[in-house]
Symmetry: C2
Subunit: 126 residues, 2 copies
DNA sequence: CGGGATCCAGAGGGATACTG
DNA sequence: CAGTATCCCTCTGGATCCCG
């Protein structure tokens, strides 16, 4: 979906499910957050994980996550530039949610073009 | 976001996080699934829970959930018509995910009209 | 390296009216 | 009651080029 960016909680005022979904809604947010669970990552490092994510999209998703207080952006005044992304304390509280998402996916999502039987167990997302 | 409806796993083939998100992506899906955790519900019954969801949208979301094998639709040949929705076995496996979403929302989602991130402290003088 | 600016298509979603 | 059928528009997200 595209839930209107924090326009409001459409379900009902204060609906917790809707509210949480708004945080991880955006084509790449869930996955970005998940990867950052592993630790700090540089921009391109993160990008390499998201095979089909354009540079512009990754930037935008990261900015929104930053605005939501879930991700911290650290810019190092160097040449060439270095920017590192990490989860904030608030972002880390999403860990149970992200792990639940991952666990369900591992059990129930049928992988595309990977016929059952030769299911690969490299479950590192991204 | 609007992830293209199951077009593919954009993150990476088999990415479990991305895959799970695709299931509950759609403006009302997460909330619908959550409400169905409580048990079978009729169409309008469900609709009353989703304050701002139009009839058309609810129908569409339910159809997609049905197509994904998460929701069962039972039509009773009566007049007036009666249609009941319930979670399938597969749908019920999402319970941990939905509960995680709810739990986080309860703890971290700031009530509407106070968008997270731009919390303003308008100091009333005097 | 890590972006920003611009242009653009189309899917997602809203409003409204009609129906078996 | 539980939907279709249209119309229309917003916003997301992709492509491309440029920048310090």
């Amino acid at each position: 979906m595209a839930r209107t960016r924090h326009a409001r909680l459409d379900c009902a005022p204060g609906c917790p499910v809707e509210g949480t979904l708004q945080m991880i809604d955006g084509k790449w947010k869930g996955v970005v957050l998940f990867h950052l669970l592993s630790g700090t990552m540089r921009f391109n490092e993160l990008r390499r994980q998201l095979t089909n994510c354009t540079q512009r999209m990754l930037t935008r998703q990261l900015r929104e996550l930053e605005a939501d207080g879930l991700v911290h952006r650290e810019v190092y005044p160097e040449v060439p530039p270095r920017v590192e992304y990490s989860l904030t304390a608030r972002g880390r509280t999403l860990e149970p949610v992200l792990l639940a998402l991952k666990a369900w996916g591992e059990d129930h999502v049928i992988a595309p073009e990977i016929p059952a039987g030769e299911v690969e167990l490299t479950l590192v997302p991204g």
